[in-house]
């Protein structure tokens, strides 16, 4: 078996073993207001940030962000304008061309604008294939840095999660930055209560 021979060589070929360093003593950058800094960083990573206006529903906020959207896909409670549900589609390819996907984020990271988005739907394609992505983030839920973030994330039975920071982008053609390479072309963070 290759497993045994590879592991045996890993044992035999090491001359000197090194200890695991302590990581708790890292003096990581902390923000006075992680939530405010997270929103600011999200904008600088190319996100739109929207909060509820007076008397507005979640539907209203999504509609305000994407007034021309026809196909909206979501399984998030309260998104009643969605006409597709990622839990009931048989094939992810049915999501091709969806105008807006709406997904639930858990918390933000101030140092880089990441939002933790664990899979909470059967077809995670909705997070990537949608032309535009709305990520809901509960107000005030943010940490300063990735050390804190990795202590906080949790997986459910789907066994998948991603940090997402802004729209898909590339600079592979002549180093010119273009938003919307393969995944969502725009990302809107909607702050929920």
């Amino acid at each position: 078996m290759s497993r045994e021979s590879i592991l045996e060589r890993c044992r035999r070929n090491v001359k000197e073993q090194y200890p695991m360093p302590v990581l708790d003593d890292i003096k990581a950058l902390e923000y006075d207001d992680p939530w405010g800094s997270f929103l600011e960083m999200s904008r600088s990573m190319g996100c739109n940030v929207l909060e509820y206006g007076e008397g507005e529903s979640l539907d209203d906020v999504i509609r305000k962000a994407y007034p021309d959207a026809v196909d909206i896909c979501s399984n998030v409670e309260g998104v009643t304008i969605a006409n597709m549900n990622p839990d009931t589609l048989l094939n992810p390819s049915a999501l091709n061309g969806v105008d807006v996907g709406v997904v639930q984020g858990v918390f933000g990271v101030a140092e880089n604008g990441c939002v933790w988005v664990p899979q909470t739907m059967k077809n995670k394609a909705v997070c990537f294939i949608s032309e535009n992505l709305v990520i809901l983030v509960p107000k005030g839920q943010a940490v300063s840095n990735m050390h804190q973030a990795y202590k906080k994330i949790a997986f459910n039975d789907y066994g998948y999660g991603a940090f997402i920071s802004g729209p898909s982008k590339t600079a592979d053609i002549a180093q010119v930055l273009v938003m919307g390479a393969q995944a969502a072309r725009s990302v809107t963070i909607v702050v929920t209560e």
């Binding site: 290759s2 590879i6 890993c10 789907y158 940090f163 969502a184």
Partner: protein
């Protein structure tokens, strides 16, 4: 006389405008990286921790690799082990064949480049589609990557525009990068939706949880694994790290070092297959790595996390381009990995270094790349790849430097060389004269000048 690198670099430099753009572009990336590094007061501490975590993991790899595989299996993933490139390729092919896969979409993986996987699969009738835009461009152009993070950096937008006109039927003379990116997006959408399998590399494997972590800006790794019913992940043995606390350290360093971004857009954690899909497969690849651990001078090259910062900063890479190196990975990292792979074959790259050590000053895992290149040079004679003329001249120099009387006689008469024609001095017998102007030798050697000055005091 010249090394393979100097000859190829000469060709690169003939396109003067492009060469200058290449140099400036990468220096620009280096400046962005510096801005990021200076933005974190703990930057140097992070680099030190990253180096220590890698040292620890690499010297306990039997433990961590086994733990990673066991935990992945507990998650329901099928784990394979590949001794070398040949075994890797045949494992991939067998999985694809058993699922009747005709088309495979894949995100960027230097490991599959290392194993020459694409041609292997294509010869067996499988359509392999690269989905990272840069990788897709060079695949359509039948080329290899010229940089590990920016694989199509050797082409400008006119090159890409002309290529897309031919293969994607884009508008004639519309070479606008936004338009071209959009057209590639449309074409790749179709590939994602019609492929039967998706393949990703892995930036990290987490021993404690059995997760594969993939970082991209385009979202192509996620598209490759969200649409087709089968996900295969390929991971080099050295990419395994202990846990999420370790991952936090590397995550903070990776994108900042690579492209000067605080993070990649997507950091995706794959623990198991999505519902309704076939079982996920992970292939752990050795291909020399476990043997390199035994090399006391060079094992620390394995600490590398493939960010490319060493090439972006390297004055030789910036002024000679990725194709000047004979190994498939260029720059300081490629020089070292090539020598670990096959010193007889890749010695022609060790000259591509000024020993400025900028590479190891920016390396987020503190790989001592420049020091190692110096060490490889000392070993060239044992590989039979040392430059013969330089060896001969070194012997003659030793004769001169060993004897004070011969040295004094030689240095006192050196200024005679000034009267010789440039052509005679640079006659091709002197390998150091290549590409350099001959210096003016002083009439009096330095130690005589000093003598005179001291007497004046």
């Amino acid at each position: 006389m010249s090394t393979s690198h100097t000859k190829a670099a000469e060709e690169f430099l003939k396109k003067e405008t492009y060469a200058r753009w290449h140099d400036n572009t990468f220096w620009g990336v280096r400046i962005k990286r510096d801005k990021m590094a200076h933005g974190l007061p703990e930057w140097e501490q992070l680099r030190e921790k990253a180096s220590e975590i890698k040292r620890h993991t690499l010297t306990h790899l039997d433990h961590y690799a086994a733990k990673f595989a066991d935990n992945a299996e507990k998650n329901g993933v099928v784990v394979h082990w590949a001794e070398d490139a040949a075994e890797f390729n045949s494992i991939v092919y067998d999985i694809l064949k058993s699922h009747d896969v005709k088309k495979l979409v894949k995100s960027k993986s230097m490991l599959t480049e290392e194993c020459d996987m694409n041609p292997y699969l294509e010869e067996r009738g499988i359509d392999v589609v690269e989905t990272d835009l840069g990788e897709r461009i060079i695949q359509l152009n039948h080329q290899k990557p010229s940089h590990i993070v920016m694989p199509a950096i050797h082409l400008d937008h006119h090159d890409v525009g002309a290529l897309f006109e031919k293969v994607l039927q884009t508008e004639k003379d519309n070479h606008d990068p936004t338009y071209l990116t959009y057209m590639a997006r449309l074409s790749l959408r179709n590939e994602f939706l019609t492929a039967q399998a998706g393949m990703t590399g892995a930036n990290f494997g987490i021993a404690e949880t059995g997760d594969i972590v993939v970082c991209t800006n385009e979202g192509n790794a996620d598209m490759s694994t969200s649409c087709p019913p089968l996900h295969i992940a390929a991971i080099g043995l050295e990419k395994i790290i202990p846990d999420y606390d370790s991952l936090a350290v590397f995550h903070r360093l990776l994108a900042r070092s690579a492209t000067g971004q605080p993070t990649t857009v997507f950091t995706s954690h794959f623990r198991k297959a999505r519902p309704g899909a076939d079982k996920m497969h992970i292939i752990i690849v050795d291909n020399g790595r476990s043997e390199w651990l035994a090399d006391e001078k060079h094992w620390e090259t394995l600490k590398c996390m493939r960010c490319g910062a060493c090439m972006n900063t390297c004055p030789v890479y910036r002024l000679s381009g990725g194709y000047s190196y004979s190994y498939f990975i260029p720059g300081p990292l490629g020089i070292n990995l090539g020598m670990l792979r096959d010193p007889q074959k890749y010695s022609g790259n060790v000259s591509a270094c000024t020993l400025c050590l900028s590479c190891q000053n920016v390396c987020p895992a503190k790989v001592n790349l420049g020091d190692q290149i110096y060490k490889w040079r000392q070993q060239l004679d044992s590989f039979g790849t040392a430059n013969k003329e330089k060896k001969m001249i070194c012997k003659a120099m030793k004769m001169v430097l060993d004897s004070p009387s011969v040295y004094n006689a030689a240095t006192s008469s050196l200024s005679i060389v000034n009267h010789l024609s440039e052509g005679l001095v640079n006659c091709g017998l002197n390998p150091w004269a290549y590409g350099h102007k001959t210096m003016k030798f002083p009439k009096k050697p330095f130690h005589k000048l000093i003598d005179g000055l001291e007497k004046e005091d």
